[in-house]
């Protein structure tokens, strides 16, 4: 047997190029983190931006949804539930097209083309031929974004891709691509120049050789956006792309911007186009694009073409045209006039504004599926009323924070979806109703005041800061204003709020200068000069937009973007700007030093995406640099250990994507977490090597991270998939090179709370996303150097007396394994009867320390887990003990009852067996004994047919119910319960005596049986019964499912 070539090696390499002070390089990969899984807590209550939709008309509808940065989702039940089917690939979706000749073949173009400032990136085109189970990457990696895909209805191997191309840089990989071999090879069949890509593409459904392509010249810069230029134009081919003609004859002259084009499926000679120009308008051609008439220029037609450039013609009516935009308007007269579809032209009612995708059912044009900045809505009545899809957790968080409650809450703001507060756990799971909106507009940073969690500091775009009272719902604007004689304050779209980690009530706010408040934002002191370059060339937002000015604060630049006060020294404050500067003060703002000058290789003007002071040393800080807005997608992370006098790169091998944030673990200084555009990355050696965390966390942009100081959770803010939590970092923190060198080793876990049994939850609905709770179990963590295959791998749990409480099956993966112990004894032993009783789980074990043994073949490793009370548990310790003692009494009494009942039925069966072999008086005596025992049994359990709804209850049912009541409440049982339990104890004693009475003459009977050559009656001994119980306490919620599982599993 050879060692696997990729076996984990611990390499001690403190070399010149990669030298990381204090940490030997540790080779890791995604499997190092083994079975640790992130859990998604959503939310889906506000959902997120949708960029593409396609569907298959059928009963039920199959719906494909592309999220702006949250992957591809499929519904096979007309939108009741959605499943993510694209988690391993680029999460930014530009186009989805179902093959018209095969609904299991679906093409996905990655890279959204609604190119707002926060847009993500794609990496080409993918296809599934099995309904989304598996995907093939079919190239066009360098296109970055794809607006549309058209599949030839007569030849599924002929596909056209409308590649918009790179947003932040010039590149030749853009235009219209065509394949005739199912994506094996591509030909660029329409290309203008390196600044102009394809923004829309539509195919004549009757003549698939006729296509219309909208070419768009556009560019985004950190501080500016340009839509339009000489490259833009509308083109048509009538020969499958061999030749193209630019269309005019009625279309506007001069520079054009983004164009949307739509062929009327029911009469393909009719073609509509919205054309961004000096005067943006809708045009119609009735002759396949040969000539055009201008028909409408209402505000929803004209508004923000770069963001709203979708046009849909009703598939059954060539005169009915939908214009998704800021709102949804419709024309019924061939585009001559439009009206709002929500009763008013601007909807703030049932549907989120900002519409990017619309699908109209060709078989039932009253049915519409609309994608907006706030998820998917479905209409069954031609857009009169809408049903919001509550099962798409594609929330786009910019930032996340937490409070110190138990369970703690998370806070964060989202693209066009306000700011929200939600719990990290909730009875029955974390559902939409658990979330509370705490701010509107586009949300970014949001923090609960550590001194008063009912106060939340929250903002919306461009520096609008508020203090929100969660109790009353009141909001007070607390933003600083430009003072007399000062330069106008410049606030970033995503203005940094920073709470002092050392002084509650002190907060920082960044414009081009740093503002500090010591009174919760009621007043502000400016504690810095302009910390940016103040370069006028980066302050062009008023004219940003190109042909259509779009000054929304999204392009505000030369501003502070990141702030960090050292948790170890409040005089040390770091600032990062969006124009390439890192500044530091060591005297609370009196003097500032430009620390970015010392960052090696830093391209001037790069966006500083985060500055994070170390929790371990006041002179240490981390900065991340994100230059993707100038076309550089590489990861940059730097570290200083001398207050910014010098820096070194810690973006070692393994990390990918431009970086949003990095956090140093507060316990293990070598453990780093980085959020990039392409996921979450961890390093165990201070940045020497990185590995992506992949378990239940898609390859989604991670914009922010927070580490909870008491729960030790990593809170992950994704821009596209909501919030994820990686529970309990304790094991990862302990993953030293020594541990990883072992074949198997134990890893610690945080103390496990015995979560209160209460917390009612009602029936849910499949159409609502519900976020996962952490396991209500004590975690047992261990390391395996390779997968365990042969021999036992199990965990035994012992109490303080050394008694074995339970044995758990072990997990077997390479890397970290986590096994949950539910902190309970085995389920109670119950005598057989005819229905289940609400007493399924064993009683909780008392709080305290428990020893466990990890048994791996012949090797035994011993560790301990700590069980603590739920921090909310209001019951004094003696009451908790009273509960545990009483529950244990009831539990044991159920065992006694089972022993008694089993003894009675066995003896009854023996007596009846012997009776059948006898005759005369002997037969009568034994039959009588059988009947007497049967009668006793009938008072112990409900036997025979009847079942759950019979309303009958004997000792088993009554005692089982009482046991269930007592275990369901963590405080002192009621006097009535204790009294009733005592009553049952006496009753069982009496039954035992009754049975003893019935069997008083057993010896004499057995002598008679011996004479007749029959086996004696043998009462069940406690020892025999006990032996039978070993490993055999059983219960479950539903038999069918169990058996089903067994069948499939074995």
């Amino acid at each position: 047997m050879t060692t696997r070539k990729n076996a984990l090696l611990v390499v001690a390499l403190i070399g010149a190029g990669f030298g990381i002070a204090g940490a030997a390089e540790v080779e890791i990969d995604s499997a190092t983190f083994g079975g640790l899984r992130a859990r998604s807590i959503g939310p889906a209550v506000m959902s997120g931006r949708i960029s593409a939709i396609d569907a298959v008309a059928g009963d039920p509808l199959t719906i494909w949804v592309g999220a702006a940065s949250g992957g591809v989702w499929k519904s096979e039940n007309a939108g009741t539930t959605f499943e993510p089917v694209f988690d391993d690939h680029a999460q930014s979706i530009g186009a989805i097209r179902v093959d018209p000749s095969n609904p299991d073949t679906v093409w996905v173009g990655t890279g959204e083309t609604w190119v707002r400032n926060s847009v993500s990136i794609g990496d080409g085109v993918y296809r599934t031929t099995d309904g989304g189970d598996t995907w093939q990457h079919l190239g066009l990696e360098a296109t970055e974004r794809i607006a549309k895909i058209e599949v030839d209805p007569e030849d599924p191997d002929t596909v056209y891709v409308c590649a918009t191309g790179r947003l932040w840089s010039a590149s030749p990989e853009r235009g219209v691509y065509k394949t005739t071999d199912g994506g094996a090879t591509w030909e660029l069949i329409l290309s203008i120049d390196e600044d102009t890509g394809c923004a829309d593409l539509d195919m004549d459904p009757q003549e698939p050789h006729i296509l219309y392509a909208a070419m768009w010249q556009f560019r985004r810069e950190p501080d500016f956006f340009t839509s339009g230029g000489p490259g833009s134009g509308l083109y048509r081919t009538t020969d499958g792309g061999a030749s193209w003609t630019e269309l005019g004859n009625g279309l506007p002259e001069g520079d054009k911007g983004r164009i949307a084009v739509a062929v009327a499926p029911s009469r393909p000679a009719v073609v509509y186009a919205t054309v961004e120009a000096a005067e943006t308008a809708l045009y119609r051609s009735d002759d396949l694009g040969a000539s055009w008439v201008r028909t409408d220029d209402s505000s929803n037609i004209q508004m923000r073409p770069f963001y709203f450039s979708e046009l849909v013609v009703d598939p059954t009516d060539h005169r009915r045209v939908y214009k998704p935009g800021l709102t949804l308007t419709v024309s019924t007269d061939g585009g001559e006039s439009f009206s709002g579809l929500f009763g008013a032209s601007f909807s703030m009612g049932a549907v989120h504004p900002d519409h990017h995708a619309l699908w109209v059912n060709p078989d039932n044009p009253h049915q519409l599926i609309l994608g907006t900045d706030g998820g998917v809505s479905i209409s069954e009545d031609r857009a009169t009323t809408w049903r919001f899809v509550r099962s798409l957790p594609v929330a786009q968080f910019y930032h996340v924070s937490h409070d110190l409650e138990w369970p703690y809450n998370v806070y964060g703001g989202l693209q066009d979806n306000g700011s929200w507060k939600g719990p990290s756990r909730s009875p029955g799971g974390i559902s939409g109703g658990d979330w509370r909106v705490v701010g509107d507009g586009d949300g970014f940073w949001a923090f609960a005041d550590p001194a008063d969690p009912s106060t939340v500091y929250v903002e919306y775009q461009g520096g609008q800061l508020s203090r929100f009272d969660v109790t009353t719902g009141e909001s007070k604007s607390i933003k600083p204003f430009t003072r007399e004689g000062e330069e106008e304050l410049r606030f970033n779209w995503n203005t940094p709020i920073h709470l002092s980690p050392t002084r509650p009530g002190t907060l920082y706010y960044g414009s081009q200068v740093l503002h500090r408040s010591t009174d919760r934002g009621d007043s502000w002191t400016t504690i810095s000069p302009d910390l940016t370059t103040d370069d006028p060339a980066r302050q062009r937002q008023a004219s940003s937009g190109g042909l259509t000015v779009d000054n929304t604060t999204a392009e505000n630049n030369a501003t502070i973007y990141a702030i960090g006060e050292s948790p170890l020294d409040p005089q040390v404050v770091w600032v990062g700007t969006d124009d390439g500067l890192v500044q530091v003060t060591r005297d609370g703002g009196a003097t500032w030093r430009r620390a970015s000058d010392a960052i090696p290789g830093l391209a001037p003007g790069s966006w500083v995406s985060s500055v994070t002071p170390s929790p371990h040393a006041a002179a240490t800080a981390f900065v991340t640099i994100d230059d993707h807005r100038r076309g550089d997608m590489a990861p940059y992370i730097f570290r200083t250990d001398d207050h910014g006098e010098s820096w070194r790169s810690i973006a070692g091998p393994g990390i990918d994507g431009y970086v949003w944030t990095v956090k140093q673990d507060p316990v293990n200084p070598d453990l780093l977490f980085a959020g990039t555009e392409l996921g979450l990355y961890l390093s165990l050696d201070g940045g020497g090597r990185w590995a992506r965390f992949t378990e239940n966390l898609p390859k989604v942009a991670v914009h922010d991270l927070a580490i909870h100081p008491t729960e030790h959770d990593l809170i992950i803010a994704t821009h596209g998939r909501g919030i994820y939590i990686l529970d309990d970092l304790t094991a990862i923190r302990a993953l030293t090179p020594e541990i990883m060198a072992a074949k198997a080793a134990l890893l610690p876990s945080r103390p496990s709370p015995q979560v209160l049994s209460g917390g009612l939850s009602w029936f849910g609905s499949d159409d609502e996303f519900v976020g996962a709770n952490p396991d209500e179990a004590a975690s047992i963590n261990y390391w395996l150097a390779r997968r365990h295959l042969f021999g036992d791998l199990k965990i035994e749990i012992y109490d303080a007396d050394g008694d074995l409480l339970t044995t758990l099956p072990g997990k077997k993966r390479r890397g970290i394994n986590r096994v949950g112990w539910p902190m309970r004894l085995k389920p109670p032993t119950m005598p057989p009867a005819n229905a289940l009783v609400m007493a399924f789980v064993g009683p909780r074990v008392p709080e305290g320390s428990y020893t466990y043994r990890l048994i791996r073949g012949d090797e035994v490793l011993e560790g301990t887990v700590e069980l603590v009370a739920d921090p909310r548990n209001p019951h004094p310790r003696e009451d908790r003990l009273a509960q545990q003692t009483t529950a244990l009494e009831a539990y044991e009494l159920l065992g006694e009852l089972t022993f008694l009942a089993d003894g009675v039925t066995e003896l009854r069966d023996q007596a009846r067996d012997r009776a059948a072999k006898l005759d005369g008086r002997d037969r009568e005596r034994l039959a009588g004994l059988g009947d007497d025992l049967e009668a006793v049994h009938g008072t112990l359990v409900v036997a025979g047919e009847g079942g759950l709804m019979s309303g009958r209850g004997e000792l088993r049912e009554k005692l089982g119910a009482l046991y269930g009541e007592i275990t369901g409440y963590d405080g002192r049982p009621s006097e009535s319960q204790i009294e009733r339990l005592a009553g049952f104890t006496a009753e069982i004693e009496a039954k035992r005596a009754e049975v003893a009475g019935l069997t008083a003459g057993l010896e004499e009977l057995n002598r008679m049986l011996a004479k007749r050559g029959l086996a004696p009656l043998a009462p069940l001994s406690r020892e025999a019964w006990q032996a039978r119980q070993e490993g055999a306490a059983g219960t479950a919620d539903e038999g069918g499912r169990v058996a089903w599982g067994l069948l499939l599993g074995l």
Binding site: R787, L836, G1031, D1037, W1044
Partner: protein
């Protein structure tokens, strides 16, 4: 840890076959069967009884556990018993009829099972695994490729069963035994994927059996874990054990 003898044989085969990447699907299957004790020994096996415990749910719900026994008799008989709160449920297939006793909600009579469940029982009756004599059984096996699965390099085999169901098997690249399967099954008309992590292989009378299965329905964390405590081979099992019992009315009435 001591490696079972059969596994050593498997490793030897691998060496004979040269570089692992060059192996054909037939060579991989042969190595798998050899690692598990050899196809000939498996073919001789006529019956088996497995006893163990099943745990359900994650976290606190993982406290639900129940003992079970499952018996197999060649060629196509199977009987499963499991106990909850002292009550015993039965599911069995006698080669013709699939039936069940589910006493948990008060019904104690045996009932015929739904067609899709019978189909799974029937599949289950083949407890020696799909790879053994797969051609004779009408299954086709293809090697999809090699990939790292949950940190373990694996051969990915796709088995299309005679009835059209598809099993994906992941075989450890070094030892050739299955450590993960993905079964796609129709349940109540809907497709469901069951992912099972397999482990704790132990030798029983020279044959290698897994003693642990962690199962997840539709992805995610394991919701059910089966631990087998004992396996008896060649047990005496009369055919009647697998046959559906007659209605209780037909049974002898209790002595009065």
């Amino acid at each position: 840890m001591r490696m079972p003898k059969a596994v050593m044989l498997g490793c030897g085969l691998m060496l004979l076959a040269g570089s692992a990447g060059a192996m054909t699907v037939d060579e991989i299957i042969a190595a798998n069967l050899e690692a598990k004790g050899g196809a000939a020994a498996w073919r001789e096996l006529a019956s088996a009884r497995m006893t163990g415990v099943m745990r359900m749910g994650g976290g606190a719900a993982g406290a639900l556990e129940m003992p079970f026994t499952v018996e197999f008799k060649q060629p196509d008989k199977v009987r499963l018993e499991f106990t909850m709160q002292g009550m015993t449920g039965v599911q069995a297939f006698d080669g013709t009829t699939g039936w069940a006793i589910m006493p948990f909600l008060g019904k104690t009579e045996a009932e015929e099972m739904a067609e899709d469940q019978v189909k799974q029982l029937k599949n289950q009756a083949d407890f020696k695994g799909v790879l053994l004599d797969h051609q004779a059984k009408g299954h086709t096996v293809e090697l999809v490729g090699t990939e790292e699965v949950d940190g373990t390099p694996a051969y990915k085999l796709k088995v299309t069963r005679a009835d059209g169901d598809v099993d994906i098997l992941y075989l450890d690249e070094e030892y050739f035994v299955e450590f993960k399967t993905e079964l796609t099954r129709e349940v109540q008309g809907q497709e469901m994927t069951v992912t099972t992590v397999i482990g704790d292989y132990k030798e029983v009378d020279g044959l290698l059996f897994p003693h642990s299965m962690e199962m997840a329905f539709g992805g995610g964390e394991a919701q059910q874990v089966i631990t087998i405590s004992s396996i008896e081979l060649g047990v005496e099992l009369p055919d009647e054990r697998f046959a559906m019992p007659a209605k209780p009315e037909a049974e002898a009435p209790a002595a009065e």
